[in-house]
C-alpha cells in the first residue's frame, strides 16, 4: 500500500511537471534592435520594447524602422531606414 501511495505521488508530481510550465497568458514583450553591419562587426541600435501584436509586426518580413544618426559605444550608425531588426536576447550578465 505504501509503495502504491509513493508511486501515485511520484506520478502526480510528474503530471504536475508536464502541466505546470504551460505558456503564460501574459503578453510577450522583448527589446528589439537594428543590427547594423559596422566596420568592426555588428552594431546594435536599440529601438525599444515591443509587445504582442507590435512584436509580431516588428518581426514580420518587410518591416523597417527609421532612426536618426546614432552613436553606439563610439561607432556611428547613419540616419536611415533599416530592415534588419532583431529581438532575440544575448548573453548579458
Amino acid at each position: 500500500m505504501k509503495k502504491t501511495n509513493l508511486l501515485t505521488v511520484a506520478t502526480l508530481c510528474l503530471a504536475f511537471a508536464f502541466t505546470s510550465c504551460s505558456k503564460s497568458d501574459s503578453v510577450e514583450c522583448h527589446e528589439c534592435h537594428i543590427a547594423f553591419d559596422g566596420a568592426n562587426g555588428e552594431i546594435e541600435v536599440e529601438i525599444g520594447e515591443f509587445c504582442g501584436a507590435a512584436l509580431e509586426d516588428v518581426e514580420a518580413p518587410g518591416y523597417s524602422h527609421t532612426i536618426e544618426l546614432t552613436v553606439v559605444d563610439g561607432d556611428t550608425v547613419p540616419a536611415g531606414t533599416y530592415s534588419e531588426i532583431h529581438c532575440e536576447e544575448h548573453a548579458d550578465h
Binding site: 508511486l7 510528474l14 508536464f18 562587426g41 509580431e56
Partner: protein, 736 residues
Amino acid sequence: MKKFLISSFLMMNIFTLYSQTKGIVLDAYNIPINEVNIFFSDQNILIYSNEDGEFVTEIDIPNNSYINFYKYGYSSKIFKYKSGADLKIILDELHINLDEIGVAESFNMLGNSKLTSIDKKSLDDDFSSSSTMIENIAQLAGVDAISSGTGIQKLVVRGLSGMRVVTYLNGMKIENQQWANDHGLGFTDLGLYEVELIKGSSALKYGGEAVGGVIYFKDNPFVISKVISGYISTKFNNSNFLSGNQIGLKWSKNNFFINFHAQYSLASDYRLPNSTYLFNSRYRNRAIKFSIANRKNNMQNIFRYQYNGDEVGIPAHTHENLENVNIDDITNSNIDFSQDYKVTRPTQFIDNHLLVYENNYFLNKSKLSFHLGHFINNLKEYEKWTIPAFDMVLSNTQIRANTRTNLDYFTINIGAQAGIMKNENNTIERLIPDANTNDLGFYTTLDYERKKFGLSAGFRLDYKKIDSEEQNYDKLFSALSSSAGVYFKQQSHLLRLTYSGAFRAPHFAELFADGIHHGTNRYELGDTDLELEKGYQLDLKYQWSNDHFGLVINPFTHNIFDFISINPTDSLYDNNYKIFDYTQFNKVNLSGFEMNFHFHPHSIHSLHFEQSYSFIKTKNYDNNKVLALTPSNKIKTGVKFELEEYNLGIKFKAVSLYHLYSFAQEKVVENETVTDAYNVLNIALSFKLFKQLNTVLGINNLLNEEYVPHLSRVKVVGGGIPNPGRSFTINLKYEL
C-alpha cells in the same frame, strides 16, 4: 454433467501445470546462481532466477523460442526452447565481461552477433550514470558524438552519421530531420533497456539505406509481477544545473503486461572550463511512454506509444562571421536562475509521437512477425519570437512483415518492409519543401551454424520514390543490397569476416534544400541531380579471451561511391550566411581498426581494466584529400573496482574511472580547422544509502580540461567553444 465439469477442471489444472516452464541455472560447480536475467527474447519478457537458481513461469513458451540467460560476471547463453527439454543451464564464471563488443553469446534484434559485427550497450541504468546516453554509447570503440553541450547530441559511427546511420526505436525507423547536425536523436534514455549497433551496412532486415550503420534501441522488457514494481529516479548536475526526473512502473496479470515511464528534465546553460556559461545551451525535456502486451496461446500483441517533447536552445548563435565571434559575447559570467532556465531564441521546439503495434505468431519452427509503426516529428526552429524560421511536420508510416524459420542448423528470415514519409511545411519561408517518399523493400537472410563454423548471406531489394510538386520532381530509385559473413571458432579464438554492400537514395533535404538554416548558421543548397550513394564494406574481427584477458581486433575498410556531401562555397547569402551546397564525390574510403583489450588481474579480483582503440582514416579520391569531419583517433579506458565484497559500512558497489584520450586531428579539408589532443577523465562512485536507494556520485571532466572535440557543432565559433568543464553529479534511484 458433474463428471464433465470435474474432468474439465482437472484438465485445466493439468494444462496449467503443463504450461509451466521451469528450470535451474547453475555454475560450473553445480552451485545455483540467483538473480540471473532470463530473457524470453521472442516474448520480450524478463524473469529472474531465485536463490536456489530456479525459475518458473506460467507463460507457455512455443518451441524454438530463444531464451537468453545472462548475469554480470558470468558467460551468457542462448537457449533454443524445446518443449519437454531439461532446462538446466550452466553459466561459467567470468572474470572479464565482453558483452558490449560482441564476444558474448547474446540475443540481438539485429541478427547473430557471431556472424555480424554487433556491439551493444546496456541502457538499463543509463539515467543513473553521470554522463548522457549519447556520451555513454560513444564509449564504444569506433563511436563518436556530434554535440553542442548536452542539449543537442547525436551519434557518429566510424565517421558517418545523419542519414547514413539509421536509428530504430522498438523496430520503428526514426525520421526526425536527421540530415542536420543540430537535430538530435529525438528521444531520451527513458524506459530503454539496451542499444545494439552495427557498424557498416550489414543489417539487411533493418538496413535499407543504412550505409554507415544501424542503431537499434530497445525498450525495457515486460516483467511477470502481480504487484506494481518500478522506480523513481532523479539526477542533478552542477554544470548546467540539470534537474532530471524519471519514473517507471511495471505490472502484469495473467497474460496482460504493462510498462509505463515518464520523464521531466530541465537544464540551464552549461559551464565552460573558464567558469563562464554558454548562453542558450539550455534545454527542457518532457517524455512519456507506455507499452501494453497481451499473450494468448501462440499469439502476442504489443502496442507502444511514446511522446518526447524538447525545447532546445541553439547556442553560439550570431549574425557575424563565425570565426570572428568573441566568445565573451556569447557567454555569461554567472547564472541568473530567474532567467537562464527560460526559453529564449533561437530555439528548437520538437514534438515526437511514436506509435507501434507488433504482432508475433509462433508456429512449431517459425515465428511470424508483423510490425506497424507511425512516427510524427514536428520540428519548429525559432530565431524570432513570433515567427518560426521553419515549422515542419515529418510523418513516417512503416509496415514490416517477417518470417523466421529455424531448421536444424539454419535460420532463415524472409520479409518485406514498406514506408510512406511525408514532409509538410507550416510556414511560407522554408528550408526544404513539401515532399513525399514511398519505399518498398524485400529481403531474405540465411544463417548457418554448426559446431565451429558459421556463415550468413542475404540480400535486400529496395525501391524508393521521391516526389515534390513544388520542385516538379518525381523519381524512382532502386537498389540491391547484399551481405555475407563467415566465422570460424577454434577453442577460445574466433575469426569472422563480413562483407556488406548497401545503397542510399538521396534525402529530400539533400535534393531540395534552399534556404537559411539558423541552427547551423548557413545557407544550404540542395541538388536535384543527386544519384544513389553506394557503400561496400569489408570487416574482419578476431577475438580471443581466457579467464583474465580478452582481446578483440577489428580492422575494416569501407568504399563509398557517389558519396553525398555538403560543402562550403566561396559565396555568401545576404552578405551574412556562407552558402553550403550538396555535391557528390565519385569515391571515398573510410578505413581503420578498432581494438578492445580487457584485463582482470588474477590477484585483484575486484579490478577490471578495459581499453579500446579507435583509428580511422579517410580519403576522398576526387581530390586526394581527407573527408571533412573525420573523427580524431581515440583511446578509451575504463577501470572499475568493485567494492561489494568489502565491508565498508555504507554498501559501496563500485568506483569507476573513465578516461578518454583524443589524438590531435590535423588531417582536415580546406576551411576546416585542426583539433588539439585532449584528455578527459570522469570518476564515479556508486553505493546504496539503504537497501532500495542506489546512489551514484560523479565528477565529469575531473581535470577541468579545456577541449573542443573535432566534431563539436560549435567548433568553428570564435575559434572553438569548449565542452563543459569540471562538474559534479548526483544520481538517486529508488527501486520499488
